[in-house]
């Protein structure tokens, strides 16, 4: 009797559960596709015109000039335009809102001919006056408000190092920018997402208000922002370039976990996913409904050696570290081969890359010899700092650290792996508290200065030069290159600097990784940009 009751209870529960789950399936279509159909039906056509782009984090602002983090630029690259553009998949300088540009012989005066008939999303005119007002806004700011302007143009209006002398309008559609001294990457700087031209009428209402109500000239207009969830932008019907954009709506959705984002892509809820783990690349390639995109590499992952700490103050020890580590097997195991072995501090796509530098081979015997020369034939003990977070240039810090640890053990170096929470890690490393630490860098504008000077010059000790490396020769070369207008001479300067850096070996350069994205098969026209800010105006579903 008792048993019987229990059985009937169990049966009823089972029935209830299965009914509930069956109801969940809600008919015959899965949610993603079902709503895509509905979406298309609303437009009265059969094609889907909304793109959902899944990414790791939310933006912090929608005013690109005010922030430094990449998630913001992913959105603003589609809302705004810059005077000049980067090439489709490289960082060559191309016309943007300025259809023509001219540089004076001495590299001090730049003349820009603007596109005519372009309007901001609020209906006001884009013209020379608007450009001048944008530059005035930045020049009158401070490092807190416009951090990138500060670092790219040497400060603000009253600062001695400020590069820009004046920005003047000459009629409706000509802008003349005069510099105090030549700045070689000046045009590249102008093409960076943060120097996008905003509607003066909109930002004059107040900077803080403007961060959440952006008004540009770009192919898409801002619609809605649900913090930590989605940012929605829609087609700018008045866009000045014929036939663009091809999509009606783009929704940027923040999905922090890489595996969950891949799941959302597999289930069809999102159409495009950023930050695919190298290990999942093959899974996407094998899936008939998906395609894999490779973002051209513009980064470097490295093991930094703090040259102010013993025994890394000795050049031989630093070189020995370079010989001891098997980079190729690290790339094969943890990047799934989707990376280039690094031998310089910047990737080969950057103008000025020195391919004649001969990489340190994997040679433990040579490493032991060098250690002996340095008087450390019995090896030594050190701390090896492992990155606590995955980054495109370092997908799995802990595992790479373990590989390095075993390589070092082979030559008698006892490395203890330590790790801290990310902000703590950076803070302590920048104070020179690490013996050897893993880190990396993704370029902003594809210029050699943005890698070599920023990461390895004495001016940047305490900020981005975490190794405390200091060298008079490279310092001189870097400063000379910054103002050298002749491209060939400039390349020569950087090549010389790379020779010295190779010899001095403040780093063990590890890899230039190829970041991966996954997308729906029917997606066309998506071209990932090395800077990480992708223009979506040509994207459509076929």
């Amino acid at each position: 009797m008792r048993k019987g009751k229990l059985w009937s209870f169990a049966l009823i529960m089972l029935l209830v559960l299965s009914t509930a789950l069956a109801a969940c399936s809600g008919g015959d279509d899965k949610e993603g596709n079902g709503d895509k159909d509905k979406d298309a039906a609303d437009k009265g056509g059969s094609e889907n015109k909304t793109l959902v782009f899944g990414r790791g984090g939310d933006s912090t602002s929608l005013d690109p000039s005010r922030v430094t983090e990449g998630e913001t630029f992913k959105v603003t690259a589609n809302l705004f335009e810059t005077l000049l553009n980067f090439g489709e998949q490289d960082t060559t300088v191309q016309p943007g809102l300025a259809k023509e540009y001219d540089t004076s012989e001495d590299g001090l005066t730049y003349t820009f001919q603007l596109e005519e008939g372009v309007k901001f999303h609020d209906g006001t005119d884009f013209n020379a006056e608007a450009v001048v007002k944008n530059f005035e806004r930045w020049a009158n700011g401070d490092a807190d408000t416009f951090p990138y302007y500060n670092s790219m143009f040497g400060g603000f209006k009253d600062d001695e190092d400020h590069v820009i002398e004046s920005v003047k309008a000459d009629g409706e559609s000509t802008v003349i920018i005069t510099l105090k001294r030549p700045q070689a990457p000046f045009l590249k700087n102008l093409a960076m997402s943060m120097f996008a031209i905003s509607s003066p009428e909109a930002f004059e209402k107040g900077d803080d208000e403007y961060e959440r109500n952006p008004v540009g000239t770009g192919p898409f207009k801002f619609v809605e922002w649900k913090p930590n969830e989605t940012i929605t932008i829609e087609k700018n019907e008045e866009y000045w370039q014929e036939g663009l954009p091809k999509l009606d709506r783009v929704i940027f959705q923040a999905i922090p976990d890489n595996s969950a984002r891949l799941n959302a892509l597999l289930s069809g809820e999102i159409d495009l996913a950023d930050g695919i783990n190298p290990a999942d690349g093959a899974k996407i390639e094998d899936n008939d409904a998906l395609q894999l995109f490779e973002r051209p590499s513009m980064n470097v992952g490295y093991l930094g050696l703090t040259v102010t700490r013993e025994p890394f103050d000795k050049k031989e020890v630093r070189q020995a570290m370079n010989y001891a580590i098997d980079k190729q097997s690290i790339i094969d195991s943890f990047f799934e081969g989707r990376a280039e072995v690094a031998k310089n501090a910047m990737p080969s796509s950057i103008s000025g890359y020195n391919d004649e530098v001969e990489a340190y081979a994997y040679d433990p015997e040579k490493a032991k010899e060098l250690l002996k020369e340095a008087g450390l034939e019995d090896g030594f003990e050190m701390e090896l700092w492992a990155m606590p977070v995955p980054r495109p240039y370092m997908p799995d810090g802990t595992k790479v650290a373990e590989a390095i640890q075993s390589n070092l053990a082979d030559v008698g170096i006892k490395a203890k792996i330590v790790s801290y929470e990310w902000a703590t890690y950076l803070d302590k490393a920048s104070k020179g508290e690490a013996d050897a630490f893993m880190l990396g860098w993704t370029g902003d504008n594809g210029d050699a200065d943005n890698f070599l000077y920023v990461l390895l010059d004495e001016d940047n000790i305490g900020s981005n030069n975490y190794t405390y490396f200091k060298n008079d020769e490279t310092h001189k070369l870097f400063l000379e290159a910054q103002t050298e207008v002749d491209e060939d001479k400039r390349i020569e300067l950087y090549k010389q600097a790379q020779e010295i850096l190779h010899e001095e070996a403040p780093w063990v350069p590890l890899a230039h990784s190829i970041p991966l994205l996954g997308g729906a098969k029917e997606l066309t026209g998506f071209v990932p940009h090395p800077t990480g800010s992708d223009l979506l105006s040509n994207v459509e579903f076929k």
């Binding site: 899965k30 913090p227 929704i251 902000a423």
Partner: protein
């Protein structure tokens, strides 16, 4: 009862005050300068110094603490260093998202957990009892990361019954009024959206409910077993009362008190401890909000966010304590 409530509310003041102090000191003990994090890797040293002064971080800690405390007393929770918005303005959508998820999870946990516990006690040592308790043990020890990703794989990718992540269908977004989407869709009469919102709640809700469900089931079972052995139960059965009523009416009322305490504590834990679930299911909740703030060293958000979660936590426990009196008239508050 009234006096008791007042007394308890007054006791909250030192508790919350102590907590603000603890959080304030803890986040300053960890290395990392907010100004450096805000300005990013490109920043110059001068810029970082200037911002440090602007944010008042160069002041001695007591000056900073008392100005923060003064702000709270005036109802000012501070301004986020990262988004430059007042915390009081931006916190509600995150809190609402977590409340909705936590309550949904708690309803599952309470309904399933209490019933599983009762039935296990009722049919002690039956196969149901054994399997429920084994499942409960597995539930307590299951890593949410694994459970969440497996759930996504099974129910979203293979079966395609449920969505993987998020709160809503982003292609057809809910227009937020209260930010509790179940209520918002009901107000607007969008029953199609209501159904979508519920479907989005199921997987993260189940993942979040697993641990409290298991704890509640085990607690209910042991508490019920004790009560079922008492004399008045034997009397009720001897009178010929139906077993179902003996269990659900007579026994449960006495057995529920310790379970209620656990439920109160668990709700509090779900509010602040949902970070993993929120991360895997891309849920824009308060756990992730505070977690991101810690990564950015956004002091005002960390301080005020934790203060609000703690406040809700102690309030829930106060309500639970007051409920005892309603359930069991023998409990008196003086």
């Amino acid at each position: 009862m009234f006096n008791y409530t007042i007394k308890r509310l007054l006791q909250l003041i030192p508790v919350l005050l102590g907590m603000t102090f603890l959080v304030f000191m803890l986040i300053r003990a960890i290395p990392g300068n907010p100004a450096q994090v805000i300005l990013g890797q490109q920043a110059t040293k001068e810029a970082v110094e200037a911002l440090t002064i602007k944010l008042g971080l160069d002041q001695p800690w007591y000056t900073q603490y008392f100005s923060y405390l003064g702000g709270i007393l005036k109802g000012d929770l501070g301004e986020s260093m990262r988004t430059r918005l007042p915390v009081a303005d931006e916190i509600w959508p995150y809190l609402a998202a977590t409340l909705e998820l936590a309550l949904f999870a708690m309803i599952i946990a309470v309904v399933v957990g209490i019933n599983a516990g009762i039935i296990s006690a009722w049919f002690q040592n039956s196969w149901f009892d054994y399997s429920a308790m084994v499942l409960a043990l597995v539930g307590v020890s299951m890593p949410i990361f694994w459970l969440g990703l497996m759930g996504q794989w099974a129910f979203a990718i293979e079966l395609q019954w449920l969505p993987t992540t998020g709160r809503e269908n982003v292609r057809d977004p809910v227009s937020a009024i209260t930010n509790l989407y179940i209520i918002d869709t009901l107000i607007q009469g969008r029953f199609d959206q209501l159904w979508v919102v519920i479907k989005h709640l199921i997987l993260p809700g189940l993942a979040l409910a697993t641990i409290p469900m298991a704890i509640i089931a085990r607690m209910t079972r042991s508490s019920m077993l004790e009560v079922m052995r008492s004399d008045y139960i034997r009397t009720a059965r001897a009178k010929g009362q139906k077993m179902f009523w003996v269990v659900y009416k007579h026994a449960l009322k006495n057995a529920i008190i310790p379970v209620l305490t656990i439920i109160g504590l668990q709700i509090g834990l779900l509010l602040g401890g949902a970070i993993l679930t929120e991360t895997i299911f891309a849920w824009p909740g308060i756990g992730r909000y505070i977690y991101d703030a810690i990564n950015f060293r956004d002091y005002p958000v960390i301080q005020s966010g934790i203060l609000i979660v703690a406040f809700i936590f102690v309030m829930i426990n106060l309500i639970v304590d007051l409920l005892y009196g309603l359930i069991d008239p023998r409990i008196k508050y003086d």
